[in-house]
């Protein structure tokens, strides 16, 4: 390491250069280590502890929390927890999928506007997302209430009992989730669509490719980088979401986020809550790893 290099007119060594770079680096790294990594590790430790009689933490090593996570309780195996985990995966998956389907027309529409108005249209997509999530979710509560036209229509069509509302219901959760995450797919997708190489599309059309074939072979692959960012930004928070199912789902449609929140508040079972959190983290990381392997190595931003 005694190689000398020139850095901005100074003769210096790589070691000295790194030490200088460290001053830029350390504050952020120390902050993230101290307030994310160490808390995360304390969560891991906590997940092996026991809940005391009054909701306090008893530091006895046990694997019971993880057994419960897989559904094993005092009364044998019950699918409740597993159901919540699978349901969370499923809801996040459907939300992401519908967001993708809705985002394509929007992204193409915005990209087709003249450059002068293009960013105004993009802003129009982002504005609702700059209004707090809790407010938007609560607004859906009203829109899906029994005396609002949506529910009235469903009642008239016989899809819904008279005087019943569309909320609370799984459908309401999906609607809330989709409107909450749509902009996260539209924005990165738009940046891919804007840079699209149209000569490939023309080539496909010259060769008499059908519309579907043109889309999947000339357009889709080119939008994959943007889509990947969108999927990651949607799927991960959708997995852990607890506000939307809490406000729109009713007591029977819980997701893993609600389960975690319950353990830290109503049930005061922190060790079990920690175990559920780690289960969620593992599911997230496995999903991410599978996705990244399939879609080559793509940058997040």
């Amino acid at each position: 390491m005694n190689r000398l290099i020139v850095w901005f007119g100074e003769l210096t060594t790589p070691g000295r250069l790194y030490r200088r770079g460290l001053w830029f680096l350390l504050p952020a790294v120390v902050w993230i280590l101290g307030l994310l990594v160490i808390p995360g590790l304390s969560l891991v430790a906590l997940s092996f502890a026991e809940r005391g009689q009054y909701g306090e933490v008893v530091w006895n090593f046990t694997l019971e929390n993880y057994a419960r996570l897989l559904g094993y309780g005092i009364f044998g195996w019950s699918p409740d927890t597993v159901l919540i985990l699978v349901r969370s995966l499923w809801v996040a998956f459907v939300t992401t999928l519908v967001c993708i389907v809705l985002a394509y027309p929007l992204a193409f529409f915005i990209a087709s506007r003249p450059p002068r108005t293009r960013y105004l249209w993009l802003a129009l997509v982002i504005i609702p997302f700059w209004t707090n999530l809790v407010i938007r979710t609560y607004a859906w509560q009203m829109l899906l209430a029994p005396d609002f036209p949506f529910a009235k229509l469903a009642q008239a069509l016989g899809l819904l009992a008279p005087d019943a509302g569309l909320y609370p219901s799984p459908l309401a959760v999906y609607i809330g989730m989709i409107t909450a995450f749509l902009p996260f797919v539209v924005m990165p997708l738009f940046s891919s669509v804007e840079r699209l190489d149209w000569s490939l599309v023309e080539a496909a059309q010259d060769l008499y490719a059908s519309r579907t074939r043109t889309f999947f072979q000339a357009i889709w692959p080119q939008t994959l980088p943007g889509l990947t960012v969108g999927v990651i930004l949607t799927f991960i928070p959708a997995m852990g979401m607890f506000v939307i199912p809490d406000l729109l789902g009713g007591a029977k449609y819980l997701l893993v986020g609600n389960l975690i929140q319950q353990q830290f508040y109503a049930s005061r079972d922190w060790p079990y809550g920690a175990a559920v959190s780690l289960g969620l983290m593992v599911m997230t990381l496995v999903g991410l790893a599978l996705y990244r392997r399939r879609g080559k190595d793509v940058d997040l931003v």
């Binding site: 902050w31 929007l106 999530l133 607004a139 928070p237 959190s277 931003v301």
Partner: protein, 261 residues
Amino acid sequence: MRLNPFVGLAAMATLAFLYLPMLAVAVLSFNKTRYGLTWSGFTWDWYVRLFSNPDILEAARNTFVLAALSTLVATVLGTLFAIALERYPWPRKSQGFLENILYLPVVTPDIIFAVALVVAFGAFRMVSSLFEPGLFTMILGHVTFQIAFVALTVRSRLKSLGPDLDEAARDLYASYGYYVRRVLLPLLMPGIVAGAMLAFTLSLDDFVISFFTAGPTSQTLPLLIYASVRRGVTPEIHALSTLIFLITVLLVLASERLTRR
């Protein structure tokens, strides 16, 4: 670009779908009835009551103080981090490690992060009374997730700048400090501002981290709205939501003007 008219139609429908909730809230904020959705006449009453409600004013103040302070800290730390990551010849291995640290707050679902903070603050409290739940703990939490977003935004700007400027500055005998102050930072400014704005909005919008780290005296607007939704909403909340929405629209239009210049 030729566009299938059906695509435009689908886009408009989706946009309408996104705006419907806000529209409903705005209409109801002028409705005379206290309960229900039936229209019974126009009134400004709820807006007047809103501004005489000390809880709401206090929550609004907390929300902005929290967002401003945490954005300030996160912007400085995140920018320094991005510069260090992109402009120093780190060995490949440590570069990978640093990038993983950077992505960690992005890929962690916020509820896990929030719960981890609850546990850690509980442990820290045994050492120091500094970590009582309140504005301070909320700032700590917000900065942690903001750093990553600032650093990622600034970093993408740095990447688009390319290495030529470094070389030009070096050839012209700029000292490192001079180069950072007079070349790098001015060129990075649009990225830094964009990162700061992103961080600010993330803080304003955050519910989960605040929900878990807030103390009894540090109510924010999202927490207040959540609590009142659970208790049964008052029309003041409609008025409040409408105002927040309008302010957002104005801010977006203003920033659009600024960046287009």
